[in-house]
């Protein structure tokens, strides 16, 4: 029997490595910390907005599907609101924190990422593109967001959530 060539040994090592599988979910920022950062260390108490009736229809239109939740929790002080929303890119929900002030995006942060592809959306170089964005006619974003190759579905999920946060902010601040 001839000795196994190097690629075979590497293959064997790779096949044995799942023995130590770890966590798939990645928490980049705890929601509580996100809220403290959004309100200078002193977040207001949460409020609840029910997604029923006409509001549910509008939310479904923005997301492209009915929302999985009946209520959305939000934090509002003056004209600044913070939202912690979830949306599935391909398979699993991405948790995103969004701060809105005066109908404009102040900050977008990926708090928890669970998808198998598209992790690049968590980086500030991507989320910074949303800063200052607002809704234009048809509840679309007023600017083009450059995508990330291979992360199309996660990029689209984040764009939907930012549009939704802007729309919800308008609902609670009028």
């Amino acid at each position: 029997m001839s000795p196994l060539p190097l690629p075979s040994w590497i293959l064997a090592l790779l096949l044995l490595s799942p023995m130590g599988v770890g966590a798939a979910e990645q928490v980049f920022l705890e929601p509580g910390r996100f809220l403290r950062q959004a309100f200078d260390g002193d977040p207001p108490p949460p409020k609840v907005l029910w997604l029923t009736g006409e509001r549910r229809k509008q939310v479904s239109r923005i997301l492209g599907h009915p929302p999985p939740k009946l209520r959305v929790r939000y934090w509002l002080r003056g004209q600044r609101s913070a939202w912690i929303l979830e949306e599935i890119g391909k398979e699993r929900p991405i948790t995103v924190g969004i701060v809105i002030e005066d109908d404009r995006v102040v900050e977008v942060r990926v708090l928890v990422y669970r998808e198998s592809r598209g992790h690049e959306v968590r980086h500030p170089f991507f989320t910074r593109q949303f800063e200052g964005a607002r809704l234009k006619q048809g509840d679309k974003l007023d600017r083009r967001i450059d995508g990330i190759s291979g992360a199309t579905l996660s990029v689209r999920a984040l764009k939907r959530l930012v549009r939704l946060a802007l729309w919800l902010h308008r609902e609670v601040s009028r």
């Binding site: 790779l14 799942p18 130590g20 699993r92 198998s116 991507f126």
Partner: protein, 376 residues
């Protein structure tokens, strides 16, 4: 009437009213309590429903079904054809929190059988293990991490009716192999893939053409495995830079003593800024041995560049120039050159219609192409 008597009479007169007020107060208290209880029940019900709808197990519990497909009409000097080229079904399932299964089953050219040109192909079927938040191990049948469209090839993701010829004849997409691949995502937008997998089996009969060497993991000869490495950078929005190197000890799986090892290297760039975009790729194979050298197949290479403009979300325009040669060695022949100019229309992000004009050197494959594609 004496004052004491008057007070008594007044008190007696007000007694029913006081009793009425007390009764109303109690009724209001009861209603408030009921309202509180109803609210609590409603909150509990909503929480339960949301928990069920939003729990990871709900999303991962079932089999996920998806897919993509494309139909193409070609009106070339060589002839006219209408072809439902690809019908692909995706099945995936998250087996546990850290283990998932993904697969793609494809029917090509609508019909498969002895008298048809179509085929049923298993393009992907692998288990992916998340070793930690930034490391994934793939085992099974997976796509080789080389080029632009080999891994991301849904028709909505690229211009032109057909994939670039360089990626078809040099990479050669769609290219899958069986084995194991480790993917590590690093900071700053870098990622690394290392794979050990089944290899190609080219032959003198096909002039050692790379594309004809794909064994498709169908009782594939495994005398000579291949090793692939890719470094990728996606550290800016709209930018992807990547390079791949693949080495196989014997490109004919020991079937041809006149041939030997082979090395592929490829590099590509994707740049998208606002409405402007450009894709560029270069790839080259070097084949060892006198057999490939004798027919000029010891070098097989190609490159393309594709500037594009997407002034509106639903419309995009592109031009592409590409050149490739599967006999680019000293004893080989001339490069084939091809130019394409066309338009994509996306009525929905997951649906595309395409139209283009194509001109190719040294062939009668000049003409108009139309296509439709979708992703589920």
């Amino acid at each position: 009437m004496k004052p004491r008597l008057r007070s008594l009479v007044t008190a007696l007169a007000l007694l029913p009213l006081t009793a009425l007020a007390n009764g109303e107060e109690k009724r209001l208290e009861r209603l408030e309590a009921q309202n509180r209880e109803l609210n609590e029940r409603l909150e509990a019900l909503a929480s339960m429903l949301e928990e069920e709808a939003g729990s990871p197990m709900h999303h991962s519990g079932g089999v996920i079904v998806g897919g993509y497909g494309s139909m193409k009409y070609t009106n070339l000097e060589s002839g006219k054809k209408l072809d439902f080229h690809r019908f692909v079904l995706y099945f995936g399932k998250r087996i546990s929190e850290r283990v998932r299964f993904e697969s793609e089953l494809e029917l090509e050219h609508a019909m498969a059988g002895a008298s048809y040109s179509g085929a049923v192909e298993l393009e992907q079927a692998y288990l992916a293990f998340d070793l930690d938040a930034d490391t994934t191990l793939y085992t099974g049948l997976f796509l080789i991490p080389a080029g632009i469209v080999n891994e991301t090839h849904e028709p909505t993701t690229f211009y032109s009716v057909y994939r670039p010829k360089v990626e078809k004849y040099i990479i050669p997409t769609t290219w899958w192999e069986g084995g194991a691949m480790l993917n590590r995502r690093l900071s700053g937008g870098w990622s690394v893939d290392v794979a050990v997998h089944s290899g190609l089996e080219t032959s003198a009969g096909s002039d050692y053409k790379i594309r004809s060497g794909r064994q498709r993991v169908s009782s594939a000869l495994a005398d000579s495995l291949a090793t692939t490495g890719r470094l990728k950078w996606t550290g800016m929005p709209g930018v992807e830079l990547a390079a791949t190197v693949l080495r196989q000890g014997d490109i004919t799986q020991g079937q041809d003593p006149q041939a030997g090892g082979a090395t592929l290297w490829s590099a590509h760039a994707i740049l998208q800024r606002g409405p402007f975009g450009v894709r560029a790729l270069i790839a080259e194979w070097r084949l060892d041995g006198d057999g490939p050298k004798a027919v000029g197949a010891d070098r097989q290479r190609g490159w393309y560049v594709e500037p594009a403009l997407r002034p509106w979300e639903k419309w995009g325009f592109f031009v592409r120039y590409e050149t490739w040669n599967n006999k680019a060695g000293d004893n080989g022949g001339e490069d084939t050159r091809q130019g394409n100019i066309g338009v994509n229309f996306w009525p929905h992000p997951d649906v595309v219609f395409k139209a283009e004009y194509q001109k190719q050197s040294g062939s009668d494959d000049d003409g108009v192409l139309l296509g439709m594609g979708y992703r589920l």
